[in-house]
Symmetry: C2
Subunit: 218 residues, 2 copies
């Protein structure tokens, strides 16, 4: 029997977090719905189990979720980004971490003092951490519908092996991950989410995503 | 007879500039190939006329090109961006200007002190100028081949009417322009070019472009 992969979603009761949890309802994936409030994490996990009728969900505190999981996705609002990483620093040392956080101010993208959320995470967790930026630009509405096609996921970071394993993992949820260069590119990929939000407003949609074209058969 | 539109390309002998000139070889479009060196502009214009066998090309100094054209595209390398706009400030006051300049350092994107090339242009030319950021992410290789499908063009700026007229103009060259929000978004769209360059390297292509999906029939 194949071993079960456990994925912790830090901020799993939020918009992106819950949507991502739904996408991960696959045999062989155990989803740890992390929350500041353990009971809230459990309530969301129970509700997902009931409403989807498949998948393995478990609620936990963000700390416990991060500690036991193989892969940790950071999906908190930007305001909670630095405090959360500081709090979970010990738990995150030997994990593959996907930072999906986007610096937004009333829906507008901005670059934080560190240059990007990812560079901020790198400076908090240390340069050697297996940290990758990804999943910023996927529509939460599309994630919630397992059949819906997803946009491409631009994956950046300075840790080549982690990028590779995250791109493999993305394949599991039906998303095409692409190596989009070093961590220094993160400000672009994070900022793109704000641009997509504004395109959604302008064109009255909730699904704006990107596809990279012109790089051959994929 | 429909009036001829004249488009000046400031930096028209460069990579993007020449490629764009080739795309504009349509009846009804007069392309002014601008160059620091008037003779070089003329040589490129003559060469385009000979090799394409269609289109109206004329070489000129950047200043003369900008002065007489209806629409001015800025396509110089980032190093020449601020000096060029300062030099052409008087000529650009009543024009619709497309700034296609991308701040790159050895193929890597960066944000200049003003926040983006577009905000830099805005601060040089004045807030009221009909300035739009566009055409950053289109592959020069694809522009050169009039049949090749082009990626979407993210158009940003604070001047709504100018964005609208640039999106219309883009339709002429077979490109789908999309309103991608205010000038403050330019750092993302400019930076995306650097990310696409790195994706090209990684996936051994010259054509990486973006398409925005999920915003309905277009």
């Amino acid at each position: 029997m194949e071993e079960q992969i456990s994925v912790a979603i830090v901020g799993g009761t939020g918009n992106l977090g819950t949507a991502l949890a739904q996408r991960l309802a696959f045999p062989g994936v155990k989803v740890l719905v992390g929350s500041r409030d353990k009971e809230k994490g459990r309530a969301v996990a129970d509700s997902l189990t009931r409403s989807l009728g498949k998948g393995t969900f478990e609620g936990a505190s963000n700390r416990d979720a991060a500690r036991v999981a193989d892969l940790v996705v950071i999906a908190v609002p930007y305001e909670g980004h630095a405090p959360m990483l500081t709090e979970l620093k010990a738990e995150l040392q030997d994990k593959t971490i996907v930072d999906a956080v986007v610096p937004l101010n009333k829906g507008k993208p901005f670059t934080p003092p560190a240059g990007s959320a990812l560079l901020e995470a790198q400076s908090i967790l240390g340069q050697e951490t297996r940290l990758v930026g990804a999943l910023h630009n996927i529509s939460a509405v599309d994630l919630q519908h397992p059949g819906a096609p997803l946009g491409d996921v631009l994956v950046c970071g300075d840790h080549a092996d982690s990028k590779k394993s995250v791109i493999e993992f993305l394949g599991k949820i039906g998303a095409q991950g692409l190596d989009a260069g070093p961590a220094s590119n993160a400000y672009v990929i994070e900022g793109l989410t704000g641009v997509l939000i504004q395109i959604n407003r302008k064109y009255k949609s909730k699904h704006a995503s990107i596809k990279i074209t012109g790089i051959g058969e994929r």
